[in-house]
């Protein structure tokens, strides 16, 4: 039973030590990432206090079923990303260790300002990781938007501190009813816009195209799975559980997130190369997941979160691997590449079909719950969601059909008409693709084994009073 603070302290210690012993930093990175991936299974629920001071005064780390699930997913994804991105580390080992600490910290923290500090840690290490592809202007746009976002977030929590006098999440949750409505609307809008930058919601996601579109085998999977899961989990925690917002503000945010979903999917329809299709699909999925969190459908949101994270892990690692081996990811030149890499093609196809939500795959179970939650609120949201997923289905099927069947439009698809490209050193990618594909198919038929701890996580996100009693009554 390890203390969850170790998930933050050990990677930091390894980071500080690794700048002194440059040669060993690779070993540090993989060792610590393995430690956190395994260690995150052995944490017990509860509120862990830093420095011995009771929550409203000190900072506490909260581990309930929700953060426990997110921790496991994030650490496993981090380790898989390292396996995929081994060739593109480019002296980023220390930055990755700090990212690992930041990611673990932001999921567990129970204090608003501490969340700001960890968000900033993740953001700065993301700028550095992204600039390893030397697309400096896109990274600069990301930096400007990220900093504006976190400043707005800070402005929001300071307004709440000004009125409620506390920074602790649990304390603020209990003090929310006394705060007047106009201050609440102002503070929540700023907090939402602050979190929306990292969660890729509409007005703030112009940076995503440049960063995800030019990603290499390390940053691609890292941003599209680890960062996406964390940013959605933070919005889930803050707006799902702590800051209960009244309905007309929810509808304002939901129009934003649904517009993100629809625009991103239609932009993906129009794009022609592999990575930008996956980029827009990630933005679209992020919009869908945040809509579900805001609507209160935590179970559907978490299933879609898990589904999107692992599907994107497979798809982005294959896409960036093809780009790094052939310097070109235009779909027409890649026609028929899966004929040469059968296992990768199979994993990619299963993840894509599961993301669309076709039966026999895990995504379908997510789609059912999404529709149930959407129908509970009103008639229009499910219509938008279905239109969006039709568009998503179309461009994924077009992608899959082209990548499986070489040959021009008119004639039979034959063996030699395929592409000249091959994917180099893709062994780990195909293993991961197959494992994730197998899990998706098995979970698609009988989703019990994967879903019941997602159910526990969703319930723990649902009721605020167990959260309050565990924090306030805590040591």
């Amino acid at each position: 039973m390890i203390n969850p603070i170790l998930l933050v302290a050990i990677p930091l210690l390894a980071a500080f030590l690794s700048i002194m012993v440059k040669k060993l930093s690779g070993v540090f990175l993989f060792g610590v990432s393995l430690f956190t991936a395994i260690g995150s299974f052995f944490i017990e629920n509860g509120s862990y206090v830093i420095g011995g001071w009771k929550p409203p005064f000190g900072i506490n780390l909260v581990v309930d079923d929700y953060s426990f699930l997110i921790l496991i997913i994030v650490n496993i994804l981090f380790f898989l990303t390292l396996l995929n991105g081994m060739w593109d580390l480019k002296k980023n080992e220390t930055v990755l260790l700090v990212t690992l600490a930041g990611v673990n910290g932001i999921v567990m923290t129970g204090d608003f300002f501490n969340l700001f500090v960890f968000m900033e840690i993740i953001a700065i290490s993301a700028y550095i990781l992204a600039s390893s592809t030397e697309k400096y202007y896109s990274v600069f746009k990301y930096l400007i938007l990220g900093t504006v976002g976190s400043s707005l977030y800070l402005f929001g929590i300071i307004i709440l501190y000004g009125t409620a006098g506390t920074l602790n999440m649990a304390d603020l949750a209990s003090k929310l009813p006394e705060i007047s409505n106009s201050v609440k609307v102002l503070a929540f809008t700023f907090i939402f816009s602050g979190l929306a930058v990292e969660a890729k919601i509409l007005p703030f996601n112009s940076w995503v195209r440049g960063i995800f579109g030019n990603s290499n085998t390390l940053t691609g999977p890292m941003f599209s799975t680890v960062y996406a899961t964390v940013s959605a989990a933070v919005v889930g925690r803050v707006f799902g559980q702590i800051l209960t917002i009244d309905t007309n503000l929810i509808y304002a945010f939901i129009t934003l997130t649904l517009m993100t979903f629809i625009f991103a999917e239609s932009a993906a329809m129009a794009s022609k190369n592999l990575r930008s299709i996956l980029t827009f699909s990630s933005i679209g999925q992020a919009g869908l997941i945040i809509t579900m969190f805001l609507l209160g459908g935590f179970y559907a949101a978490l299933i879609q979160l898990v589904n999107n994270a692992f599907a994107k892990m497979v798809m982005f690692s294959i896409a960036t691997k093809t780009y790094s081996s052939n310097e070109d990811d235009d779909i027409d030149n890649l026609a028929g590449i899966f004929r040469k890499h059968y296992m990768m093609g199979l994993g990619f196809t299963i993840s894509a079909l599961s993301l669309i939500g076709l039966p026999l795959f895990f995504g379908f179970y997510g789609k059912i719950n999404i529709l149930q939650t959407a129908f509970a609120t009103n008639m229009w949201i499910p219509a938008f969601i279905l239109i969006g997923s039709i568009i998503e289905g179309i461009y994924y099927i077009r992608l899959l059909v082209k990548l499986w069947n070489p040959g021009k439009e008119g004639d039979e698809s034959s063996e030699e008409a395929g592409t000249s490209y091959t994917i180099l050193n893709g062994f780990t990618v195909s293993i991961i693709a197959l494992v994730v594909g197998a899990v998706f198919v098995v979970a698609g038929i009988t989703p019990e084994f994967l879903v019941e701890n997602i159910e526990k996580a969703a319930n723990s996100l649902g009721d605020i009073n167990t959260y309050l009693s565990s924090v306030m009554g805590g040591i």
């Binding site: 930091l12 011995g52 002296k91 840690i121 000004g162």
Partner: protein, 240 residues
Amino acid sequence: MKRIIAILLTVAVGIFIFTGLYGEDSDFKAFGEKNISDTVANSYVDKNVDADRESPESGSANVVTSIVVNYRSLDTLGEVTVLFVSALGVALLGGFLKEKVTFSVKPGFILKNGMKIISGIILITGIYIFIHGHLSPGGGFPGGAMIGSSFLLMYLSDEEFKTKITAFKIMEGTAGSLILIIGLAGLSIGGYFLYNFLPNGNVGDLISAGIVPILYVLVGLKVGSEISNLLGNFLNGEVE
């Protein structure tokens, strides 16, 4: 055209903030009329956060330092990591440039000789500030910035000046790891990460407030070495 949209948008945000904060039904505490009793900070000031701790809980005269290093110590740890990552980022980004930066304006006589006198003094005051962090205002971060500025003076005064970069790296690494080791020691001894396991002594004299001064000295050293290393990378442009 872009400017008009920018103006309109800014004015809209401004109106939104002002009506939200200073509208009639908003209970955002106006400037100055807030009383401390209804905020969390009240018990920081009276030092009675935890009843079963012995009398002067945090021991440090400067209440802000007690908050930064003792009550909300994870923030400072995060803070130090932010600076560590940005220094590292500047070093990694610097690798792209491959050539040394030359000044268009050569350092004049006054700068060269003046630097010899002043930089020593700045260095001493910087060290004084972060050693007395828990007594007088200021602490690890301002002290570290002063050390950085003294090294900046040295860089500006002559171009060939190039401290051994690895010296800063090692100081930065050891200071950072020491902070974490103290934290983990607190975890093993007191059961909480960064627990103040040393005696507090009485408020006001130098050796007091348990691990607070030790942590703040380490933070000061780390910040100082990071900033000078950062400036070094800006000027010389090649990675160590």
